[in-house]
C-alpha cells in the first residue's frame, strides 16, 4: 500500500520544518505549499489524502482555499484540517462552514495532531 500523501500549506518556515519532520516520521508522504495559489496548484497536480491548511496565508487565505477545494466535486474524499493561531469560536465556525473537516489551534500538541490526522484518515498512522 502506498503511503498516504499530506499537503502542508503554511508560510512559517519553522512550522513547516516541524510538520515535515513529524509527518515523515509517522510514515506520510509530505508535500509543502507556501501560499494559497501554490496549494491549489499542488492539489490539482496530484490530489493528496489530506490537506493541513494554515488560515493566515499571504495572498488568498486558508478559508478561501478551503472553499475552492470544496467546490470541486471530484475532491469529496479529500480531508481538510485547518490550522490557525487565531483561536476564536467565530473563526472555528467559519472554517467549518467552508467545509473543513477539523480545526486545530496553534500551538498544538504534536501527539494530538498526529492522532487527529490518523483519525481523520480512518486508521492508525501507517
Amino acid at each position: 500500500m502506498s503511503r498516504e500523501r499530506i499537503l502542508i500549506v503554511e508560510d512559517e518556515p519553522n512550522i513547516v520544518l516541524s510538520l515535515e519532520f513529524l509527518l515523515a516520521q509517522h510514515g506520510y508522504e509530505v508535500v509543502v505549499a507556501r501560499d494559497g495559489e501554490e496549494a491549489l496548484a499542488a492539489v490539482e497536480a496530484r490530489p493528496p489524502a489530506l490537506v493541513l491548511l494554515d488560515v493566515m496565508l499571504p495572498g488568498i487565505d486558508g478559508y478561501e482555499v478551503c472553499r475552492r477545494l470544496r467546490e470541486q466535486p471530484e475532491l469529496t474524499h479529500l480531508k481538510i484540517i485547518l490550522l490557525t493561531a487565531r483561536g476564536r469560536d467565530a473563526e472555528r465556525l467559519r472554517g467549518l462552514e467552508q467545509g473543513a473537516d477539523l480545526y486545530v489551534t496553534k500551538p498544538f500538541s504534536t501527539r494530538e495532531l498526529i492522532a487527529t490526522i490518523a483519525g481523520c484518515l480512518g486508521g492508525s498512522p501507517p
Binding site: D11, E12, P13, N14, I15, L17, S18, L19, F21, L22, Q25, M56, P58, T84, A85, R86, G87, R88, E91, T105, K106, P107, F108, S109, T110, R111
Partner: protein
C-alpha cells in the same frame, strides 16, 4: 425746428417703446423669469414718486423759493429710513391678507368695512384727480413749448391733454387689467415704470449738465453770478419758507410716499420680496439726491437768462435748451417729462380704478345680485377699465378747466394733503388695537372736510366762482371761519394751516371716537391680525365662519370671481397643503372658508369678499372676549407646537449624535478585536514552532546531533522572535499611553543618523548592503528624545536593509533642511511600496511582504512604533517611490530655536 408731426411721432415712438417693454416684461414673467425679482427694479419703480411735478415743478418752486423744494424729497428719504419698521409691517400684512390698495388696507383693518373702503376710495379719487390733471397739463404744455418756436401748434392744449389721457388709459388697461386677481403682480407694467424712472433721471441730469457746464462754467460760476443778482441772493439767503412749513412739508411728503395710491401700488402690491426694502432703502434716497442736484442751478440759470424772462419757472427745464437751440436736448427733456408724467398717471389710474371698482362699484353689484347671478369676472374687469377711463377723463377735464392756473407744485401739495388724511387711521391701525371703524371713519371724514374747506375751496375764489370776501371775511361774514385762518389761526401759509387743522381734527376724532366704544368682534380679530402681525405671522386664524357652507356652494361662489380653472387650482393647492380630500368634504371647514375669503379678497378687496362669503356661509356671532380668547388660544397652540417641533428637532440631533458615537464605539471594538486576534496569532506562531520542536526533541531522544542542534537553533530563534515581539508590544503600548512623557532636548539629527546607522553596520555588512549617509553641517537641532529618534533611524534603516536585494543592496540616508523643519529620508532599491499600501504599512502587524532575508523577520510593529514616535515629536512620516524604484521613507521633524532653554519635559500628546 421740429414739426408737429415729428414731435408727435417721437412721443408715440416713445410710448410704443413703453408698450414693448411692458409686453416683454409680461412675457418674461410668464416664462418664469420675473423681472420683479430684482430689488433694483423695485427701487426704481418706487421712483414713480417723481412725477412731472418733480421734473418741471421743482425748478419752478426753486425759482421762487430757493431751497423750498427740498422737503418734498426729504420726506421719502426719511420714509425709506423708517421703512424697515413701519413699511415692512404694512407690507407683511398686505401679503398675508392679500390686500390690493390703501382703501382695501383700511377697510380690512377696521372690520372689513365696505363703507370705510368706499370713503377711502372717494378721498383717493378726489385727492388724486387734480394730481393726474397736473401730469396731463405738464405733457400738453411741454408739447406746446417744444413747438412754440415754429409758430402756433397744430394741436390745441385740449387736444393734447385728451390724447395723452387716451393713450395712457389704453396702456393702463392693457397692462394693468388683464387679470382679475389684483394680488398678481403686473410685471410688464412695473418694468416699464422702472424704465421710465431711468429715462427721467437721465434727461434731467442731461439738462442739468448742459446748464451748469454748457451755459455756465460750472457750479462756482453759476452760483457766483446768481449771488451777484440782489433778488436771487435774497431768495437764496431767505431759506425759502418758514421752518414750520419745512417740517410740515417733510412730514407731508413722508406720508405721501407711504400712502399715495400709486406708491401703495408699486411699493406694496407689486412687491414680491420683503428683502427688496433693504435695497430701496438706500437706492431711492440716492436717486432723489441725484435728480435734485441740478434743480437749484437750473432755477437760477432760468431766472438769470433773458430767454426765459417772464416765463413760469415750471418751464425753465425745457426753455433753457430750446433757447440755446439744442433741439435734441429739448426733445430728451420732453421725453423725460413725458416719462415722469406717464408713469405716474398709469400707476395712479390703475390704483384708483382698483379702489373704485372694488370699493364703490362691487358692493353695489353684490347687493343687487345677492347670492345669485353669474360670472363676476367680466363685470369686475369692465368696471376697472371704465374706472381708468373715468379717472383719466376727470383728470383731463380738470386740466382744461380754469382751475389749473396754479403752479404745478401747489396742485401736488393739495393732493398730498388729501392723502395725508389717510395717515392717522392707517398708522393708528398698525399699532393701536383699540382703534375702531367708527373712529377711523370719523377721523377720515372730519379731516377730509377740513381739508376740502381750507385748500381746494379757496382756490375757487381765484377762479371767480366764489367772492373774494369768502377768503378775507369768512362765509356769511363769520371771520372765525375764514378758510385760511380757521378759529383765528393766522400767520400760517395755507398748506401748513390746512394740515394743522385737518390733521388735528382727524386725529382727535379718530382717537376720541375709537375710545368711546370697544371694537366689534370682526374689528377685534382684524386688529390683532394687523397689530400683532409679526407675532402671529398670519398663522392665527380665528374661526369666524361656521362650518355650515357646502363645499360646492363655496366653489361656485369662488368661480364667479376667479373662474373655474383658477378656483380649482387654488382649492386643490389648499387641500394638498392641508392634507385633506375636498371631494369627501361635504361641509367646508372654517379654515377653508377663511382661505376662500382671503383668496377672494385678492380680487375683490377684503370688504367685498366678506359680503360675498356671507351669502354662502354663516358668520359666527362671537363677542370680543371670545375672539381674544380664541386668538390667545391659537397663538398658544402655535407656540406650543413650535416648541414641540424644536424639541423633537433637538431629540433627533441628539439621537443622531448617539448613533454616531455608537458607530464609533463599534468600530473601536472591532479594531480592538482585530488587534487582539492578530496579536494572538503573532504570539502563537513562534510558540507553535517552539512547542513542536520541544516535543519532537523530547519524543526522539535518539535523534542525531546535527538534527538536534538544528532544532535547538530554531527554538532559540523563535524564542528570540517572541521576546522582540513582546518588547515591541510593550513599547507601542507605552507610546500610545497618555502618560508617557518624552524629554524634549535639543538633538542634532545628523548625529542621531550617524549613531543609528553605526548600530546597523553589522547587519548591512552581513547582507552586503551599502549604506550611504548625507547630512550637511550646521543643521538646526530638533527638540526631542535622542534615544527615540535613534530608534526611528534604526527602524527605517534596518527595514531598508532587509528589503534590499542582497549583495547589490543600496540604502541612502539623508537629512535636509526645509522651512521650519528637517527632512529625514531613507531610500532603498528594494521592491518599493505599492501606492494602495502606503497608508496601511504604518498600521500594526501590517506587513505587505516578507523581508528577503528570513533570518531576522520583523515583528510587524516597527513602522507603527516609528509613526508614534514621529507624531510625538510633532512630525510626519510617509512613503514615496524612490528614484531607483525602491521605497523612500520620509520623516519631517519641526526645528526649534537653536537657543532652546534647558531640557523641558514635554507632555507630547498623541
Amino acid at each position: 425746428m421740429w414739426s408737429t408731426g415729428a414731435t408727435v411721432a417721437i412721443a408715440l415712438a416713445y410710448v410704443a417703446l413703453l408698450f414693448f417693454i411692458a409686453w416683454r416684461g409680461d412675457r418674461q414673467a410668464a416664462a418664469g423669469r420675473n423681472p420683479l425679482a430684482s430689488p433694483w427694479i423695485y427701487a426704481l419703480s418706487l421712483a414713480v414718486y417723481c412725477t412731472a411735478w418733480t421734473f418741471y415743478g421743482s425748478v419752478g418752486r426753486a425759482a421762487t423759493d430757493g431751497y423750498g423744494f427740498l422737503p418734498i424729497y426729504l420726506g421719502p428719504t426719511l420714509a425709506c429710513a423708517l421703512g424697515w419698521v413701519v413699511y415692512r409691517k404694512i407690507l407683511r400684512i398686505a401679503k398675508i391678507e392679500r390686500l390690493t390698495s390703501i382703501a382695501d388696507f383700511l377697510a380690512s383693518r377696521f372690520g372689513k368695512s365696505a363703507f370705510l373702503g368706499a370713503v377711502v376710495a372717494v378721498v383717493a379719487v378726489v385727492g388724486t384727480v387734480p394730481y393726474i390733471a397736473l401730469q396731463l397739463k405738464a405733457v400738453a404744455t411741454s408739447f406746446q413749448l417744444l413747438l412754440a418756436r415754429d409758430g402756433p401748434s397744430a394741436l390745441s392744449y385740449e387736444q393734447l391733454s385728451l390724447s395723452a389721457a387716451a393713450v395712457l388709459a389704453l396702456f393702463a388697461i392693457l397692462f394693468g387689467t388683464r387679470s382679475v386677481d389684483l394680488t398678481e403682480q403686473h410685471a410688464g407694467l412695473v418694468l416699464a415704470i422702472a424704465f421710465e424712472s431711468l429715462v427721467k433721471l437721465v434727461a434731467f441730469l442731461a439738462v442739468g449738465l448742459f446748464v451748469v457746464f454748457g451755459l455756465y462754467e460750472g457750479f462756482g460760476d453759476l452760483f457766483a453770478r446768481a449771488a451777484a443778482d440782489p433778488a436771487l441772493a435774497a431768495m437764496l439767503s431767505r431759506q425759502g419758507a418758514s421752518e414750520g412749513a419745512w417740517a410740515w412739508m417733510t412730514f407731508l411728503s413722508l406720508l405721501a410716499f407711504w400712502f399715495l395710491p400709486r406708491q401703495f401700488q408699486v411699493g406694496i402690491v407689486e412687491n414680491v420680496d420683503e428683502r427688496h426694502l433693504s435695497t430701496s432703502a438706500w437706492l431711492l434716497p440716492l436717486y432723489l439726491l441725484v435728480i435734485n442736484v441740478f434743480v437749484l442751478p437750473i432755477a437760477l440759470a432760468g431766472r438769470m437768462s433773458p430767454a426765459t424772462a417772464g416765463a413760469s419757472g415750471d418751464t425753465f427745464v425745457l426753455l433753457l435748451p430750446l433757447s440755446a437751440d439744442r433741439a435734441e436736448l429739448a426733445v430728451l427733456v420732453f421725453l423725460g417729462g413725458l416719462s415722469a408724467a406717464t408713469s405716474m398717471v398709469i400707476v395712479e389710474s390703475l390704483a384708483i380704478s382698483n379702489m373704485v371698482a372694488n370699493d364703490l362699484v362691487l358692493p353695489v353689484l353684490l347687493q343687487r345680485s345677492g347670492s345669485v347671478g353669474g360670472d363676476f369676472r367680466q363685470p369686475l374687469l369692465i368696471s376697472r377699465r371704465l374706472a381708468i377711463v373715468a379717472v383719466l377723463l376727470l383728470g383731463h377735464l380738470y386740466a382744461i378747466s380754469a382751475g389749473v392756473g396754479a403752479s404745478l407744485i401747489s396742485i401736488g401739495l393739495v393732493s398730498f394733503a388729501a392723502v395725508a388724511q389717510l395717515a392717522p387711521a392707517t398708522l393708528g391701525g398698525l399699532y393701536w388695537a383699540g382703534a375702531t371703524r367708527r373712529g377711523a371713519l370719523a377721523g377720515l371724514i372730519g379731516g377730509f372736510a377740513v381739508w376740502a374747506y381750507t385748500l381746494p375751496l379757496p382756490s375757487l375764489v381765484a377762479t371767480g366762482r366764489l367772492p373774494a370776501s369768502f377768503l378775507s371775511e369768512g362765509p356769511l361774514g363769520l371771520s372765525w371761519l375764514r378758510p385760511h385762518a380757521l378759529f383765528g389761526l393766522d400767520g400760517l401759509d395755507p398748506l401748513s394751516h390746512s394740515l394743522t387743522w385737518s390733521l388735528l381734527v382727524n386725529v382727535v376724532a379718530f382717537v376720541g371716537v375709537s375710545s368711546l366704544a370697544a371694537p366689534g368682534p370682526v374689528e377685534e380679530r382684524q386688529a390683532r391680525r394687523f397689530v400683532d402681525v409679526f407675532r402671529y405671522r398670519g398663522e392665527v386664524e380665528v374661526p369666524v365662519w361656521s362650518a355650515d357652507a357646502p363645499v360646492a356652494s363655496l366653489r361656485a361662489l369662488l368661480s364667479r370671481f376667479l373662474g373655474e380653472e383658477r378656483t380649482e387650482r387654488a382649492l386643490q393647492a389648499w387641500a394638498d397643503e392641508q392634507g385633506v380630500d375636498l371631494d369627501h368634504m361635504g361641509q367646508a371647514h372654517p379654515e377653508l372658508i377663511a382661505f376662500a375669503e382671503r383668496l377672494l379678497a385678492g380680487t375683490t378687496g377684503a370688504a367685498s369678499a366678506r359680503v360675498a362669503l356671507a351669502s354662502v356661509a354663516q358668520e359666527k356671532t362671537l363677542d370680543v372676549g371670545e375672539v381674544v380668547e380664541l386668538l390667545d388660544e391659537t397663538s398658544r397652540v402655535i407656540a406650543a407646537s413650535r416648541e414641540l417641533a424644536e424639541k423633537s428637532q433637538e431629540l433627533e440631533t441628539a439621537s443622531a449624535e448617539l448613533r454616531r458615537v455608537n458607530e464609533q464605539l463599534r468600530e473601536l471594538d472591532r479594531l480592538k478585536d482585530d488587534f487582539l486576534s492578530t496579536m494572538a496569532h503573532e504570539l502563537r506562531t513562534p510558540l507553535t514552532a517552539i512547542r513542536a520542536f520541544a516535543e519532537i526533541l523530547h519524543d526522539n531522544p535518539e535523534l542525531d546531533t546535527e538534527k538536534r542542534s538544528e532544532f535547538l537553533r530554531v527554538i532559540a530563534k523563535e524564542n528570540e522572535r517572541l521576546s522582540r515581539l513582546i518588547h515591541d508590544l510593550l513599547d507601542l503600548a507605552r507610546l500610545e499611553g497618555k502618560e508617557e512623557r518624552m524629554v524634549a532636548e535639543p538633538v542634532d539629527l545628523a548625529e542621531v543618523v550617524a549613531d543609528g546607522v553605526a548600530a546597523l553596520d553589522q547587519l548591512a555588512a552581513s547582507r552586503g548592503v551599502e549604506i550611504e549617509v548625507t547630512a550637511p553641517m550646521g543643521l538646526p537641532p530638533v527638540a526631542g528624545d535622542r534615544d527615540r529618534l535613534i530608534q526611528v533611524v534604526i527602524n527605517l534603516v534596518s527595514n531598508a536593509v532587509r528589503f534590499c536585494p542582497a549583495a547589490t543592496g543600496h540604502v541612502a540616508v539623508s537629512v535636509q533642511r526645509r522651512r521650519g523643519e528637517l527632512l529625514l529620508g531613507v531610500e532603498d532599491n528594494g521592491p518599493g511600496v505599492p501606492p494602495t499600501e502606503r497608508e496601511a504599512i504604518f498600521e500594526k502587524f501590517r506587513q505587505i511582504a516578507r523581508p528577503v532575508s528570513g533570518r531576522q523577520a520583523g515583528t510587524g510593529l516597527g513602522l507603527a512604533i516609528t509613526r508614534r514616535i514621529v507624531a510625538r515629536h510633532g512630525g510626519r512620516i510617509w512613503v514615496e517611490d524612490a528614484a531607483e524604484g525602491g521605497a523612500l521613507f520620509l520623516v519631517s521633524l519641526p526645528t526649534r530655536a537653536a537657543d532652546a532653554p534647558q531640557p523641558i519635559p514635554l507632555l507630547l500628546g498623541a
